[in-house]
Each structure stands twice: as structure tokens, then as C-alpha cells.
Symmetry: C4
Subunit: 210 residues, 4 copies
């Protein structure tokens, strides 16, 4: 019996982490690439420039939101990879699918920045986030199923990682739903609040688990 | 006798892996950079935006195909590098040639996305893939010839890596040939199927080696 | 009591360093992306080309200034990360905020290059630098407070890192102030001098501590 | 006496290598970004597309030349960093200057591709290469002077690294000079030959040291 290529391919967690860091770094920096300096022809005084900068600020908020999104998923993926003893081909491909979704985040961000009042733009953006969550959840289930996690991993950490993704995605879906009943600004505001909560994670008095 | 520069240059597998991960990360993210949000002037309603997004979807498929291509070659190169004990100057340069081909993949993808019905565009795209396969094969032959692989590498793994490249490239060539007898859509469909097979690698019942 | 996700997330200093190096690398290279070759239509002789290149040189100086800025902050962040034993979620998020500011540096640089005589452009640029300094200072205070630094770190190094940021930021603020009393060219000249001082750090005779 | 910030900053060779790999990866991939697919309006048949692709080929050669250039300097820098035990602030800054020159290589390449017959474009390109060589030479002299190289480094390797840079730069200068007596095509041809020689490094019979 011959050794299969698939048994030896894609085993390095370090390389997967390095590729992920690279793709996150490029995607996070490209987000801001669409933020262009105002055209010189339209600016004749300090006041014109201030006005042009103020006009740019909604776009800046949108890019911060996407930077937050990518930051949250980077922390999430990193937490999983830290607990892996090794990878295999299937897991590498689930993470590559995850990274494809990371790489199109600049597109869905630019779409939402351009068409901020359109529900279709918001739904595309939410779909992007939802698929990021789904692939990340799938990768954890597969890593557990294939026995790729470090042997000393406590069962409660396994559950905590799943619970976090389900909780976060429920809140994002709720936010996206708001655009059906109210409008896209409510959705964006709600999603930003959820993201800030996850990024800052204030310790609520009287609760032990954050 | 003086020590030659060529004997001491390019020996670090880690640096080669880091440069490769960087170039793959940038190329994979730049692929999607050509996917632009529709022009705001052409969109006046939700329906306009949906239509514009649907019109973008063939491009999205093309970029997914190239992401798959780069993902397959990333897994392939990584598998080789994992089995190397060290590198040398010649091997580094073969991998740099491989990385040059990686860096022009966004160009040949954009070309095919723009001219999807033209055989010349498909041939350029296939040539890109074929040269990627050829340099990867060459790098493995050289690594084996120069004794750079880890000493405990079983002979069957050496063969499995070669076999995989030859098999994959034969299927790609067959796919490219389809555009001569049928048309470019058949070629693209066939290549995507081959790539999905390699990415998902379903275990066929009754076969031991996948 | 369940294990909290927040207790296990974002602990890897290596991954944080890798993401940082990636974002710095992309931002530093994108800076120069705005430096475009002159239009072929406007160039009919060697003299035309020389003139066009000379006309580009103020932009080149501006990009060198931003490369210096990012270089200084890269060295600063690296110095901190080298002294960390581990990271935690809060610290990761402070560094992500720092990296967001790194990723918008190409924007504020392009803004200043385009509107070099406008105080608003200079203030945006200075605000970018000031926030970079503030997040870097905050990250060090948090790392010390949460006990994340290596146990053998001498107290004087803790102080040296803080002192350097405060000193540098005071000089930058002074430079930015110059544009109120004089003009933006004085500010830019002063800031470049401060940066060159930090990059070259000449050893002044008669002083022990540089 | 207080510990100086400058004594503790910039000591990690690993971080310097990671930043370098990132900047090289982005610069090498951005090179090809200027290679745009032909405009769809100008292409009405397979023949049109072939012609447009053939018209692109001189540009492709130019980008291959710059990829070779960056590849040669990447191998050169990597060889130095591999022999370092640690870095210090001064050495980090010399390498940052080197990386700035790497990051402007896409600009000087695009300039030469656009103005291939102009001596000024060729001189800018050569100046870029010459400064890359000068900073790399300087970094090695400083590393040796400050005792940063690994203690077991044989003296002949120290000399081999210097000799290689001097020899390469002399050949590049000779190539650049050709444009004064002949024309820029001779210069480019000569430089490409020198680069291919360094990349392929054929073993000349009868010579022991390559």
C-alpha cells in the first residue's frame, strides 16, 4: 500500500498561522486603501479641507467597523490554532475557505460604505460575517473530531470556543434583522456595539464569566 | 581556497517559508482587489444593486477558482518545505521562480475574468498553472538530488509528492485541451471540478489511497 | 463555573508579532504606491523626465518621513513585545488599535503630501502620530499592570520605555505647534529632524545616556 | 545611571527578518500589479488579444528583472541575518533604510518600464540598486564592527559576503555605464545577464570557487 499524499499534506500549524497572519494583515491594510485624500481641485482653503475631511468620516467609521470585525475573527482563529497540536489537509482547507472570506471583506466593506442605505449591501456584509463564523465553527468541530487539538485541552475550553461563536453570530443576525424592521443605520449601529462589546469586554459587576 | 558565497547563501528553510507565506498572502488578497463595488451613479434602487451584484458573480467565481489554485499550490509547497532539513542557493532560486509565478496569478486571473470566452486568455491561465506545477516538481527533484530532505523521509512519500504533481498537471492539461474541442466554459468548469476534488478530496469507498 | 472565552483568547505574543510585522510591512510598502511614474504623454525628452522627477521629490521626502515614522513605531512596539512573557485579550486589542493607526498612516501621509501647506492636513498627520504614541504607552502600562512582562525585567527598563514615548511625543507636539506660529514647512522640518535624531541617535559627547 | 532605551531597542533578529520578508513579499507582488489586462474595448478577436499580450511582454521582462533584483537582495540580506547572533538599534535602522529602498523598487521599475529609452529612468533604476548594495554592505560592516555576528563565524565567510557585494555592484555600475556609450537597451540586457548569472550561478569548469 502506498502512502497517500493526503496523509502528509497540510500538517504544519505554524505555516497555516503564518499564511493567516499575512492575509489578515493585507486585508486589514487594504480596507483603508479606499480612503482617498480629497481631490486637490476641490480644495481652496482650510475650511474646504475640513469639510472634505468631515465628509470622509462616515467612511472612516465603516473601515473601523471592518477592522474590528477582522480583529475579532483574527483573535478567534488564533485562539483555535493555539490549541492545535497539528493540522491536517481537511482542516487546512477549512481555514483556507475562512481566509477566502477574510480576503473579500475589503470588497463587502467598500460595498457597504458606498451603498450604506441599501439593505442588499448590508445583507452581503452580514453574509460575509455569518460565513466567517460558520467556517470558524466548522474548523473547531473538525479539529475536535479528528483529534488534532492538544491532548491536555480541558473540555470547558472546547465548549467556551463553540459558545462564543454561536453567541456572537446570533447577535450579528439580530443586528442584520434590524434593517428589515427599521433601517440599515440601526443594523450598523447595533453591529458596531456588539463588536465594541467583544473587543472591550467590560467586566459586568456581579457576573463571574465575561 | 576561499569559501564561496554560494555555499553559504539561501540556507534557511524558515525564511523561504516566511517569504512564501507573505507572497501567497498578498497574491491571494490582491486577487479580490479587482472586485470593485458597482458605480454609485448606476444604482438607484435595491433592484439595481442586486442586478449589479449578480452581474459581478461570474467574476467572483473566477477569483474563487484562483484562490483555490493558489491554495492547492500553497499546500503543495508547504508539504515539500516541511520535509526539508535545509535549503541551498539553487533550491531557493527554484522556489523564487515558483513565487514569481504565484505573483503573476492575479494578472492571469484578471485576464481570464475579462476575456472569459477567449482561448488565448485560457491558455495564458493554464500556462501559469502548468509552470507552477513544473517549478514545484523541479524543486522536489532538486531537493532529493542535493540531499536536502530530512534523512528519515520514507521513499513512498518522495514518490507520493511527485505522483500528485504529475496527476494534477495531467488533469489541468486535459481541461485546457477542452477549449480546443469545445469552448472555454467547459475548460473552466473542468478545472474547477479538478480543484474542488483536490481541495475536498472525498474518500471514495473501496479505495485505500485517496 | 465555566471557563471564560476571554481568559483563553489572544495569548500568543508570537502571533501578535507576526500580524504586526505583516501590517507594518504592507503599510510601509503601500506608502510608496502613491508615488506614480510621470505620465508618458507629458514627457518628450530627457529634460522633461528629469523635471518630472524633480517635481516628484517633495513627495518622496514625505514618504521617507512616514517610513521613518513607521520604522520608529515598529522598533518601539518590537521592544515592548520582546519583553512580554505572554499576552492577553485586552493587550491584544490595544495592539490592534495601534495597528489600525498604523494602517491609516498611508492615508494621512497622502493627505499631507497633497495638501502640504494646509494646517488641517498637518494636524491630521500629527493626530495620527499622537494616537500611535498614546496606544503604545497604554499597552505598556497595561502589560505592566497585568503582570504580562517577563519576570526578570529590570525596573529601569520599564521606566526607559515610558520615558522614551513621553519625550518623543512632547517633541512631536512641539513640532505640530510650530505650524500655528510659523507655517507647516517649519513643522515638517522639525518633525523630520526629531525622527532622524531618533533613527540615527548620535552619541552626544559628555552625556552617558543617549 | 539609567538604562538607555537605545540599549534595549531593536534587538530581535527574528522580528527584523519577519518585517523584511513581509516588505519583500509585498514589493515583489506589487511589481506585477502594474501589469494590467488589456482594455476590453480594444479587443474584438483572438488575434487582437494575442497582439495585446505580445505588446505587454516587454513590461513582463522588466518585472522579471526587478523580481530577480529583489530576489538577489533577499538572498543577500537573508545570508547576513542568518549569521547574526543578535541585532541592535543601529543595525535595525540600517536594515530599515535597506527596506525603504526595497519598497521603492516597484516605483523605479514602473518608471523604467514606462520610459525604457530614457537614460534618466535607467540611472534612477541603477541608483536604486546601487543604494541597496551600499546599505547591505554597510549593514555587514556594522554587524562585524559591533560584534553582532555569531562567534563561530569563519573569517573567510566575512570576506566572501563583502566580496560578493563589491563584485556585483561593479558589474551593475558597468552595465549602467553602457547607456552612456551605447543605449539603455544594452544596459538592461547587460544587467539582466549579470542577474541571471547570480541567480543560476553556473559552475564554470576549471574554477573551484563559484
Amino acid at each position: 500500500m502506498t502512502t497517500s499524499y493526503n496523509q502528509i499534506a497540510g500538517q504544519s500549524v505554524e505555516r497555516l498561522a503564518a499564511l493567516s497572519d499575512g492575509i489578515f494583515a493585507v486585508a486589514m491594510t487594504l480596507l483603508v486603501l479606499d480612503l482617498r485624500a480629497p481631490a486637490a481641485e476641490a480644495v481652496h482653503s482650510e475650511r474646504d479641507l475640513w469639510r472634505a475631511l468631515v465628509a470622509l468620516s462616515p467612511r472612516l467609521v465603516m473601515y473601523m467597523m471592518s477592522f474590528l470585525t477582522l480583529g475579532i475573527f483574527w483573535v478567534g482563529q488564533q485562539t483555535q490554532l493555539n490549541h492545535l497540536a497539528r493540522s491536517d489537509r481537511s482542516l487546512s482547507w477549512i481555514h483556507l475557505a475562512f481566509l477566502f472570506l477574510v480576503s473579500i471583506t475589503p470588497f463587502s466593506t467598500a460595498l457597504l460604505a458606498e451603498f450604506v442605505r441599501y439593505r442588499s449591501a448590508l445583507l452581503v456584509y452580514w453574509l460575509n460575517i455569518a460565513l466567517l463564523g460558520a467556517t470558524l465553527y466548522l474548523s473547531w468541530v473538525c479539529a475536535l473530531g479528528a483529534g488534532l487539538v492538544k491532548p491536555d485541552l480541558p473540555a470547558e475550553i472546547q465548549a467556551a470556543i463553540k459558545r462564543r461563536i454561536v453567541m456572537g453570530q446570533s447577535l450579528y443576525a439580530l443586528g442584520a434583522l434590524l434593517c428589515v424592521f427599521l433601517n440599515t443605520y440601526w443594523s450598523i449601529g447595533f453591529i458596531v456595539l456588539v463588536q465594541l462589546y467583544y473587543a472591550i469586554a467590560p467586566r459586568i459587576p456581579g457576573r463571574r464569566r465575561t
